[in-house]
Symmetry: C2
Subunit: 675 residues, 2 copies
């Protein structure tokens, strides 16, 4: 059995662990030759009756496929040679019917194929299946017989109160718990919640409308704030010549390993490779120098909303670490340091505002250490978030004071306002950026085992209205009244600028719809049923906690905004409580690693010396002892990094020693394992 | 004398034309060693007194530079070896003081250096100087002595009514007329009007806030329109694997020569080169195929606002033909052809709306011929503009019906709504795009010899308020009243959502400010002076035609929106008149080329056969006979291409013959030389 492609990388041939046998079988429809092939992946012992396969894929009479079929769809000339690695080479879409026993096993479980030559873990199998862009995956419990197909029109008797059901209903939903496998859970809620999809260039992801809409809300809010400060939007090219990119030495050292290079256009090799911007300091500043001719032209304040590329070779993660991402980058220049530094902090406040006011995420503002600051700048301010599930810190957004480093490098100077006889004045610069990473932080913090939870101020839809209680007994008149009321509520909410949608899909039960919208994280569900109409009321359910509200139909416009507001602050306060509870002061080194292991970030008195910071990282590293945290190249073996020196400092008592080296502490610094 | 770099490319060593000698001299400040070097470029015969050089560059005592200085700034060890080509290698910013005689000469004028070995034209010299990103160019008339430096504080007597002057005032402004050298004029108004700047990667340009603000207005208008149609914004990666890019054969043939390839990241060669999207059909459609599982999931409508790269090797032109550009690309899929085709036309209406309603530009809607349609689509609809100065047509934006070509290639299908036993239904798709090219079309059409003219609905600022009539005799009280009123008007206009700005810059005369804002194309200038205040009125001047309005101060809020509206339609109607006058019906071939030469686009009866279209192009090509049109690789020797088959057709009489081949005509097609 030969293996190729990405599956080969997942294989685990040197494991001595006991293995569980799995099988991969290919089915085709007997009567519909154009239907998608069906690949059943299950435990060797699981029986996979074809009626269950048929129901889960809506296929007609699936039968085990013949050799020609393997050739046509998977480029394998013999059914016996077929294995999981061939799924990557599929010529077209196909179903994967996954035995639900597999996701229910521990992720360390070692599987083998029936020929017993290849071994791989449950985790790698799940990841592999998720990575197949042509696969339409259905997770199926083969232990249960499928429900009878609904076909409501034919099924006139016996009339029942049972609502119209759909055989797919049980197939959606998140199959991993947040507490069990955070990383797999995160991927599932993003993809099943239709916020994001994996893309066939590694490290790049598709932002689907549900996440892009959040980005649009962030843009709108932040753009208005900075425009009030006099910042103007602009667009500089994405390409930068190597000569210009390399002009500032510290800066390029920070970015060089991650720069993507264009070397070819059409069939022609370029004379010089051209870089794709990892950030635009060196792209912009030569032109700042050209445009600003007098100190009267300062301050200069521009911003752009754009894509940048940092070709990281580390483990990518949707939103959090991606090779291309969207952000805004502001670049400003002042005639004096005071104005520049005032702006740096003003922008940092906006960033923490994006997190608090829009994403309902608490952050801690502070300054980065010398080691962690922006390459080429003087100092970096940051707002730092916290992911309770992993106990890791995460950088939210950074605002840098560049001082005169870049302006001197790019000869960006003007005559002194004091007169020509005084030395030239080099501009004082800032740069600051907030990226789509913020969406990932928001998702990790609020979402749950049912799927996404999106805070109301940014969610694409704030409320979904679902007609309920329609049964086979419902009269046409009653049905129309419910549907009309649903549509009317939708219109009324839209008129109030509430982003609502009504779910009129037929062939789906309300229960299926509830689960579907919960998966997508829509903040409020509004139910409109016969009983509600009788009472002139509606029922509202909050996504985050299932809390129900019954409100009078004519109070909609007043009540719903209140419920949305309350929900925003409830989400924020819940997240803040966790952050506050897990940000602990540690004065002695003996308590440091145990605190980290307890999923805390740590505030410790620190000497401010870079070597000591390195020591802390090394000494707090631990081997993967099977605990639930992700192995990560960026933080090898997960030593604690300094997250920031918080602006809000505990009192540093006279004579306090550094938590690690015992020298004089200069401040309390926040450390943590981090993203 | 050896030549390197881009200057070498401009040299013209085989010309036998009589030459005019030019000189390039380098000056440095005697007393300020840190000041920028000054390169004076002038006719050999022009005298260049150092007091004029000093005034034009605000330098202290400029003196001819010594050898060390050449080494330090231009990497030349001997002043005698210095020539224009060394300006490319300048280590830092420098002034170019350009003898105003040079831009005033015809662009064919052949220059030689003082050693008489290198020859180049006036045009290539001007282009070369414009391309120097580190050069701060001042055009100076050496025949006039500089005005005495103003220093208004010292110059207390004699008190005069002359307004405070600035020595720079005469140095700004457009030095080429639109009618004389359209291409140089276009570059000058864009760069001097601060809309755009040249960038050091060829074919890429910087969109400065004045142009990006126009793009934001277009985004806002168009985005709202498509959202009402149910289109959702999304973001797909900019990278695409070669395998996916090459999936649709006709499509890739159309784009392959222009694709930029990333082959390297940091120090590592990538295993496979990765393309940068030239457009996103092949990026998106594999995922459409994955997401759409049922005909009930159709229509699918997404759009993104993004950058794309088409690495053209032809002569780039700001906005019009650039290697990276910004656009929106909409991609939609329907279950039937009718709905798809209805949308194609709806979007085309929006595009012609962007031109008409926002940019005040008339376009003609129609269908592209088979030869000119989108690679891989079924048909392309377009709105076509017209540039009166060059008599050339220009494609405004295109909306494509792709039919099932891509959906079959990407296996993007659903079950038939008629039931599973019917054949699978492949989606009917559209794609449509509008780019920043639209800004270039707008600039070319409305702007004039004084600079940019920007239509009011899109301009960054709609009105600039300039305090006037302040003289040395003005009392502080009078002055404060004028300045306060200026600020109050600014506030009142902003409160009405009119994008206004007030120009309080000191040390500039109102005349200088007027010229400066005219250069930038701000629609209205509002003058606030002592006389106006006495009468409780203000004076308003329209940028496009200098038309003056005197309105009562308390009628501002009513009158200004009216004046802006009128101005929009006046601009549109003026452009439409020209287009209408230069779109002529030509029935016979003998009149075809003369009509083109008369700067017309031509509506002719045509047979619809591609070979005939090729013949028309060849037969209508002309050599550059010195007339004022730009040589262009995209339309070699400028044969006429088909622009579109207009929807609005002249009556095609029975028996009408094709204008070129004499076969039966099937419609009237619009032909023209084009961009």
């Amino acid at each position: 059995m030969s293996l190729e492609g990405s599956f080969a990388k997942l294989a685990l041939n040197d494991s001595a662990a006991p293995t569980t046998a799995v099988k991969a079988l290919v089915f085709k429809s007997k009567t519909n030759s154009g239907a998608k092939p069906i690949v059943v992946v299950g435990l060797q012992e699981t029986k996979t009756p074809s009626n269950i396969i048929a129901a889960s894929t809506e296929s007609k009479e699936p039968r085990l496929a013949k050799n020609e079929y393997f050739e046509q769809y998977f480029n394998v000339d013999d059914a016996k040679k077929f294995n999981l690695s061939h799924l990557e080479q599929a010529e077209s879409e196909f179903f994967v019917v996954l035995d639900s026993t597999i996701p229910s096993l521990a992720e360390e479980t070692v599987f083998s194929t029936n020929e017993d030559t290849i071994k791989f873990t449950q985790k790698s199998l799940t990841e592999y299946i998720n990575s197949l862009t042509k696969a339409d995956v259905k997770i199926v419990d083969f232990s249960k017989a499928p429900e009878a197909s609904p076909a409501p029109k034919q099924k006139k008797s016996p009339p029942s109160k049972k609502e119209i059901s759909n055989p797919d209903a049980k197939l959606i939903g998140v199959t991993v718990k947040k507490a069990d496998d955070f990383s797999a859970w995160y991927q599932q809620i993003l993809t099943k919640g239709e916020m994001l999809d994996f893309y066939d260039v590694s490290g790049c992801y598709i932002l689907r409308p549900a996440s892009y809409a959040i980005w649009e809300q962030i843009q709108k809010w932040f753009d208005a704030k900075i425009k009030k400060l006099g910042v103007q939007n602009t667009y500089f090219p994405m390409f930068v010549s190597s000569k210009v990119l390399e002009r500032e030495k510290d800066h390029i050292e920070g970015f060089a390993p991650e720069v993507a290079w264009v070397t070819k256009a059409g069939q022609s090799e370029l004379e010089e490779p051209i870089a794709i911007r990892p950030t635009s300091e060196t792209v912009m500043y030569p032109y700042f120098a050209k445009w600003i001719q007098s100190h009267r032209d300062l301050p200069l304040k521009v911003n752009q909303w754009n894509n940048v590329v940092r070709w990281e070779f580390k483990h990518p993660q949707p939103f959090i670490r991606t090779r291309e991402f969207l952000w805004q980058e502001g670049h400003t220049a002042f005639s004096n340091a005071e104005d520049a530094q005032e702006e740096v902090l003003q922008i940092l406040d906006f960033y923490s505002g994006v997190y608090k006011e829009l994403l309902a995420v608490p952050t801690i503002k502070g300054k980065k250490t010398e080691k962690e600051k922006f390459a080429g700048g003087v100092f970096t301010t940051t707002c730092e978030g916290y992911i309770p599930q992993t106990g890791r810190g995460i950088q939210g957004a950074t605002s840098h004071y560049l001082g005169q480093n870049f302006s001197k490098m790019f000869n960006f100077s003007v005559e002194s306002p004091l007169g020509k006889e005084h030395p030239k004045l080099f501009a004082y610069q800032n740069s600051w950026g907030l990226s789509t990473r913020s969406i990932g932080v928001m998702v990790m913090i609020h979402s749950d085992d049912k799927g996404l939870v999106v805070p109301p101020r940014v969610s694409q839809y704030q409320a979904v209205i679902v007609p309920v209680g329609l049964t086979n007994k419902t009269t046409l008149e009653e049905k129309n009244l419910i549907l009309d009321t649903t549509a009317a509520i939708d219109r009324r909410l839209k008129a109030e600028d509430i982003r609502s949608t009504a779910d009129f899909r037929e062939n789906y039960t309300p229960g299926w719809k509830f689960a579907n919208w919960e998966l997508k994280g829509v903040p409020l569900r509004i139910e409109v049923g016969p009983r509600d109409l009788k009472e002139n009321q509606i029922t509202i359910v909050r996504r985050n906690d299932g809390k129900k509200f019954v409100i009078a139909l004519d109070k909609l416009e007043e009540e719903i905004p209140k419920i949305l507001e309350e929900m925003h602050w409830d989400l924020y306060n819940a997240a803040k409580e966790k952050y506050d509870a897990h940000r602990v002061i540690v004065e002695e080194w003996k308590d440091f690693v145990p605190a980290l292991n307890g999923k805390n970030v740590v505030l410790s008195p620190w000497c401010g010396v870079e070597e000591c910071e390195e020591d802390i990282k090394k000494a707090s590293a631990k081997k993967n002892d099977g605990e639930n945290f992700e192995e990560d190249d960026k933080a090898p073996s997960m030593g604690a990094k300094s997250l920031c020196i918080p602006f809000d400092q505990p009192e540093l008592k006279e004579g306090t020693k550094c938590v690690k080296c015992g020298e004089k502490a200069v401040n309390y610094t926040m450390f943590g394992r981090s993203y």
